[in-house]
């Protein structure tokens, strides 16, 4: 396996795992809580 193939494979794995997690996060409405936290962070 070339290094490029290794990098691509890892990136693709990481991206797909993140996509699944994001979908679940969305359903858990974490974006709501995180946004509020970010809002408070502004101060």
């Amino acid at each position: 396996m070339t290094m490029e193939e290794i990098r691509e494979k890892f990136d693709s794995l990481e991206t797909s795992v993140n996509e699944i997690k994001e979908e679940i996060e969305k359903d858990a409405h974490l974006d709501f809580i995180n946004s509020l936290k970010q809002y408070v962070n502004k101060y």
């Binding site: 290794i6 794995l13 979908e23 858990a28 809002y39």
Partner: protein
């Protein structure tokens, strides 16, 4: 020639029109794809499953009534048109027919909940398996490169050696990031899914509450749903050495239920300390607390109002907040998500909703949570809602303070003292002539004070101001003490009103310097130790003390006298 020109123009126009149509077509397809994606996402979401369950229950009830009405002769159009006798008959008819229909609705809903969870788990487990295989591949790649490296001549193959060494380092780096970037993400996602599943159980429990034949919380099928996540974890793990971690995790989950509140608070603190993102374990606890709150809060029907009102004093426990542990703020947010639009208007008192993004999120969360279930919508609950808002303010401030490194603020006063101590410590580390660093430090603390100020109500503000005035009152230099005292009133503890920024802008830097200058004369040893900023200042103050030979008692007396002049003004200021 003219004819040719016309022909050319027509051709161009036709080509252009075709191109535009093609673009429009593509855009249309894109929009349609987007819509389908959103529809798919919506259908796959647990919210949709739960909403559908609610709709189906309603449909089943309507169907039973419709069927009953169809048996009547002469025809009757609605329940309200039934005679008392018919209504009794209907109740019997409903009793005979509805349970089976509700059972079916429940079975479908339960399956859907499993389906959504299972689909995601399978996807995650698939990725976990893929990751493990890839790790195996990487180990092979690493070994082959190492073997090749071992066989190379250090003199002749310098280039290849450098190349291989670089590749080996990169592969090792990739291997090292699996835990965080792949397995860590997968585990977080699984934890989030557990939270979603728990929410789903709570929601189903609410939906099927009127039907005694269904006990959602004790349904063994549903109790399995999160165990399945644990089992899948175990199935995907290879090798005996990984088994203990699985058992440990299960044990941890089991232990979680047996932990004391104190231990949970500690866990949450640790979770928060990990960074800006919410740790799943913290979230799980927070949602659990919110669920407990939601269950208690959402349960009462209108006729139970009086009864529940008596339970109002336990609101802080409903929110998952107690005076010793204000770290459960996520649960407050989760509860706030259940507020109605009236509550949101009230919430503006906290000045949170000036940000349209924030408002949007709260509104969305309300919609998602089903604001119609909100127990705070009846006028009798207004008092309770106000208490919720009051309680929510504390956690908001704690959250803000944490952003500034105040990790465990037990109460407002202690937090304030910590801030003060931090300021003095940091100021001491800066040279007196480093105006830039001092200005930056002041700016940072000014913001922090504003954060506190922003979250406080008038009573809390009064307490803080009194405490800070006490602090400033220790300044032996009367003029400076007075000046700083006024500045505190004017700047630090003025509620966040529109005029505040302009006031700040108008104030020149040199004035700000005065507010941060802790110079003074005639301090006592104790005061110097508590308040000094630099060793040089300390020495000067000590020297001054000797010269004037003022006693602590005299100083206090002087302080009291000097403060008397400000007392009337302070009292006026405290009326907010």
């Amino acid at each position: 020639m003219e004819e040719n020109e016309v022909q050319t123009n027509e051709t161009v126009e036709t080509t252009s029109t075709t191109s535009e149509r093609s673009q429009v077509g593509q855009q249309f397809d894109q929009i349609q794809d987007d819509i389908n994606t959103i529809k798919d996402e919506k259908e796959k979401s647990m919210d949709n499953v739960l909403d559908t369950a609610k709709d189906k229950v309603k449909e089943a009830e309507d169907k039973v009534l419709e069927d009953f009405l169809a048996t009547l002769d002469p025809k009757v159009d609605s329940y309200d048109d039934l005679t008392e006798e018919q209504k009794e008959e209907y109740e019997k008819y409903k009793e005979a027919h509805l349970p089976a229909m509700i059972d079916e609705v429940y079975a479908n809903a339960k399956n859907k909940v499993f389906e959504v969870s299972k689909e995601r788990l399978e996807a995650l487990n698939g990725k976990e398996k893929e990751a493990k295989e890839f790790e195996g591949t990487l180990a092979g790649e690493l070994e082959s490169r190492r073997n090749e490296l071992a066989g190379l001549d250090p003199e002749k193959d310098k280039e290849r050696i450098a190349e291989l060494e670089s590749e080996i380092a990169e592969i090792e780096e990739i291997q090292g990031s699996f835990d965080e970037k792949i397995y860590g993400t997968i585990n977080k996602a699984k934890d989030y899914q557990k939270v979603i599943n728990n929410n789903a159980i709570e929601s189903l429990s609410e939906t099927f509450k009127p039907y005694p034949q269904i006990n959602v919380k004790e349904d063994p099928d549903l109790q399995k749903i999160n165990k399945e996540i644990g089992q899948k974890d175990g199935q995907e793990k290879t090798g005996d050495e990984e088994e203990p971690s699985k058992d440990g995790k299960d044990e941890e989950n089991k232990d979680e239920q047996e932990k004391t509140e104190e231990e949970k608070a500690k866990d949450e603190k640790q979770g928060q300390a990990k960074g800006g993102q919410i740790d799943p374990a913290v979230l799980a606890n927070a949602v659990k607390a919110a669920q407990a709150a939601g269950t208690q809060a959402a349960a009462p029907a209108a006729e139970e109002v009086e009864e529940v009102e008596q339970e109002a004093p336990s609101l802080s426990s409903m929110l998952g907040i107690d005076s010793n542990n204000a770290l459960n703020f996520d649960s407050s947010w989760a509860l706030l998500a259940n507020f109605t639009s009236k509550d949101i208007n009230d919430f503006q008192r906290l000045q949170m909703l000036n940000d349209p993004e924030c408002k949007k999120y709260i509104m969305n969360a309300m919609k998602i949570a089903g604001a119609e279930k909100n127990p705070f919508k009846t006028s009798k609950y207004r008092g309770i809602r106000d208490q919720v808002l009051e309680l929510a303010k504390g956690p908001m401030m704690e959250m803000a303070l944490r952003q500034y490194g105040i990790d465990n603020p037990d109460d407002i006063s202690k937090s304030f003292d910590k801030l003060k101590a931090k300021y003095v410590k940091e100021r001491r580390a800066i040279a007196d002539d480093d105006e830039k660093a001092i200005a930056e430090l002041d700016e940072k603390y000014y913001t922090m004070y504003n954060v506190i100020d922003f979250q406080l109500d008038s009573n809390q503000l009064k307490t803080i101001r009194t405490r800070f005035k006490d602090f400033v009152g220790k300044f032996s230099n009367t003029e400076k003490r007075k000046m700083l005292s006024e500045k505190i009133d004017a700047k630090m503890f003025k509620p966040a009103e529109p005029e505040a920024p302009s006031q700040e802008t108008e104030e020149p830097e040199v004035e700000q310097r005065e507010t941060r200058s802790w110079e003074g004369k005639n301090r006592t040893e104790e005061e110097i130790t508590q308040m000094d900023v630099t060793e040089a200042e300390k020495e000067n103050a000590q020297k001054d003390n000797k010269e004037v030979e003022i006693t602590k008692a005299q100083l206090n007396e002087l302080g009291d006298e000097d403060l008397k002049g400000d007392k009337k003004k302070d009292e006026d200021d405290l009326i907010l």
